[in-house]
Amino acid sequence: MSAPAKIRNWLDERFGWDQLMAFVRHKTVPTHRFSYFYFLGGMTLFLFGLQVVTGILLLMYYRPTPDGAFESVQYIMTQVPFGWLIRSIHSWGANAMILTAIAHMFSVFFLKSYRKPRELTWLSGMILLFLVLAFGFSGYLLPWNMLSLFATKVGTNMAAQVPLLGHWILVFLRGGPDVTGATLTRFFGFHVAVLPGLATLLIGLHLLLVQRFGMSVPPTVEAEWKVDPSKVQELRFFPNFFLRELMAWYIALAALGALAAFRPWELGQKADLFASAPAGIRPEWYFMFMFQTLRFLPAKVGPFAGDLVGVLGFGAAALVWTCLPFFDNDKRGRGKRWIAGAGVFALTYFVGATAYAYLVAR
């Protein structure tokens, strides 16, 4: 018996390897005109993995203190072999991951993949999206530069608008009433321990649920397949679908490498707690639509502060959006029209307000 066969036998006796392989071989992915959207989830997972790997490498040199954070990132960018590449891929990759996560969410929404029995899959995915945004928000401060310092001040101030708990949340996030070194160490803790732990658990749950219920087929395709079962097409997950996904990952990696080489992530000026706010303070692109909305709002909306209305409005919208599968319980399985309309509005508003904010900033 050859060495690989011996190892396989050893594994099979203990873990039921052949049974696992048989399961993988039999797993299929539906093939239809919307199949390309199935790549988005895998792409987000790949980018998350890339963040973990590059993040661990950055941890070898990063120092989460006000006196050391900026200098350590500068050291990574200039002295550490390939440090510039790792840090740039981590920063660009974070943005790419948030982009694919948002695209994944909208694709799941418009393909109605959240329908029964996949409500919990949607719910876990939404919580993962919030975690990904929290990763972005907490990671933005870590280089400890002027822009990140003031963007964090603005961002955490928004949290203070929450009625009753606002001040408590603000102090909890900042580690005090102001953004200081305490905020930096706190955000570092969230970014490298709390959030990865929660995200890993939720990704496990999300994948388990995807595995349990299989890939959802859009209602229109499902209807066509019911009428004519001969149209049903499936692709083996392994190796056929997996190899295609692998190609997409390679392309993503090459794109991130090109961005790192031609547009390395900027470091900016070291944060100065006593300096006045520099011009052009703005959050990362994925929070721009909220930032712009708060700008749209007047100082007072009726008897309430404009910011309070904005924050509460976004909170309520996020809650409704997260609980969407429980509203969209149309018996015919095609979903309610107003929900589809709300989705179109949400996507249009997200893209429009973000684009408008950048146009105004120019």
Partner: protein, 449 residues
């Protein structure tokens, strides 16, 4: 008694009914009319305030003099804005008389203590009656100086006035009369940015100054100077104006020996180096006025490296000629300064290119700031006229520029290396993608697919 009580009771009832009616009306008329009335009140009030003030504070002086023609005219509004009016000083405080009387004869009578307007020669003592009285001035501003009059007596203006020359400036020529504003008010004629124009009213007037036989181009020259550019152009109030060098109340041109001291109030290091330099004694023996000899006075320009050296326009050529040690030293200092300046520029350019190529050079750019500091020090150290002192700073700066230029070259090489690496890895990625595509094709073309 009962009738009186009844009337009061009726009155109070009527007030209660009126108040109730007002409340009802307010609730019915709505917020619009209230807002309109509210806004109208604020709109109308400023227009009515002066009239109310006049009514409350009777001042027959202003009532008449606001209607008289110059030179007896006093503008009510301007006077109200003046520092004197703001501090409660009225016409009678300076001029005496009785401002509460509408009869001019009585208002301006000797019995009422009327003093009238002082003669021009009397103006300084007239103003000093308050401004030189520390006890009195303490009532208004305890930190205000009260030595203006004694300083004025030491000034050229004061000396000439004492000799009976009433052409010279007295208090009101610079500060105004009824429109005097505090010197920190940007509208004041003695606010730093306005001082040169105020002095220029006389000193730039060739006809007026003809009797004194002194130049009248100071203002024109000053307006072209670096000091004017900083003070008026950039609003830097620390930049000098006429009174900074000449004094204000004690105004006098600095003597040849004191020029360095005057400039040294701001340019401390240059003055220290000059005092220890061979130029100090040489200039003194020739009767040359220190700093002014090379930099000029009113029309002083921003110094450049072309000032020093032996090329056309260099100030060194005023005294030094070819073959002298000073001539050679000047030439060498110029060469060294321009070398360091060029090195700083080269380093800055290469770092800028590296930055644009995406390489992090923030720390190296900060290091280059040290070379810029060394260049500034070298430019200051030329006042020592000592080549060794200048050399020390030049060498320190060149050491930094050599290191930063080298670092810039390395950063550009790094950018090139990254791009080459990227193209190689992109090639490998493309090969892997092709292989995967072929593998998929092979897998899916087989009989078992």
């Amino acid at each position: 008694m009962n009738t009186k009580r009844h009337r009061e009771w009726m009155k109070s009832r009527a007030e209660v009914r009126l108040a109730a009616h007002n409340r009802e009306w307010m609730s019915k008329a709505g917020a619009f009319w209230f807002a309109l009335l509210f806004c109208s009140f604020f709109f109308l009030v400023p227009a009515r305030l002066p009239a109310q003030t006049e009514a409350q504070q009777k001042n027959s002086c202003l009532t008449c003099h606001s209607q008289l023609d110059a030179p007896l005219h006093v503008d009510t509004q301007t006077f109200a804005e003046s520092i004197h009016a703001q501090k409660g000083i009225t016409c009678v405080t300076c001029h005496g008389g009785n401002s509460s009387s509408d009869d001019p004869t009585e208002a301006m009578s000797a019995a009422a203590g009327f003093k009238g307007a002082p003669q021009r020669k009397q103006v300084p003592t007239f103003c000093a009656s308050c401004h030189a009285n520390a006890a009195y001035m303490r009532n208004f501003n305890p930190s205000l100086r009260t030595d203006q009059y004694s300083q004025y007596l030491t000034s050229v203006h004061g000396h000439l006035l004492a000799k009976g020359d009433t052409h010279v400036a007295v208090c009101v020529d610079c500060h105004g009369i009824h429109d005097i504003l505090p010197p920190d008010d940007p509208r004041s004629s003695v606010y730093p940015t306005n001082v040169a124009e105020t002095c220029g009213k006389c000193h730039a007037n060739a006809a007026y100054m003809k009797v004194y036989k002194i130049p009248t181009n100071q203002l024109t020259l000053y307006n072209t100077s670096v000091h004017h550019a900083e003070l008026v152009g950039k609003g830097d109030l620390s930049a000098p104006t006429c009174s900074t060098c000449h004094g204000s109340h004690g105004a006098a041109p600095p003597g040849v020996k004191s020029v360095v001291n005057v400039c040294a109030t701001c340019h401390v290091f240059q003055a220290q180096l000059f005092d220890a330099s061979p130029h100090h004694d040489a200039f003194s023996s020739l009767g040359l006025p220190g700093c002014v000899t090379c930099h000029s006075n009113h029309g002083i320009q921003a110094p450049s490296d072309a000032f020093i050296g032996v090329r056309k326009g260099a100030v060194c050529l005023k005294c030094h000629s070819a073959g002298e040690p000073g001539y050679d030293a000047a030439a060498k200092i110029h060469t060294e300064l321009t070398n360091l300046d060029a090195s700083v520029t080269h380093s800055r350019d290469i770092l800028s290119r590296a930055e644009q190529a995406g390489v992090e050079v923030g720390q190296i750019q900060m290091d280059l700031d040290q070379a810029r500091d060394d260049l500034t020090k070298a430019r200051v150290s030329i006042h020592s006229a000592d080549l060794k002192v200048v050399d020390q700073n030049i060498e320190a700066g060149l050491k930094v520029t050599r290191a930063t230029y080298k670092a810039g070259q390395a950063a550009l090489a790094q950018a090139s290396y990254r791009r080459k690496g990227l193209f190689i890895s992109l090639g490998i990625t493309l090969l892997v993608l092709l292989s995967l595509a072929l593998l998929i094709r092979k897998l899916e073309s087989g009989p078992h697919f």
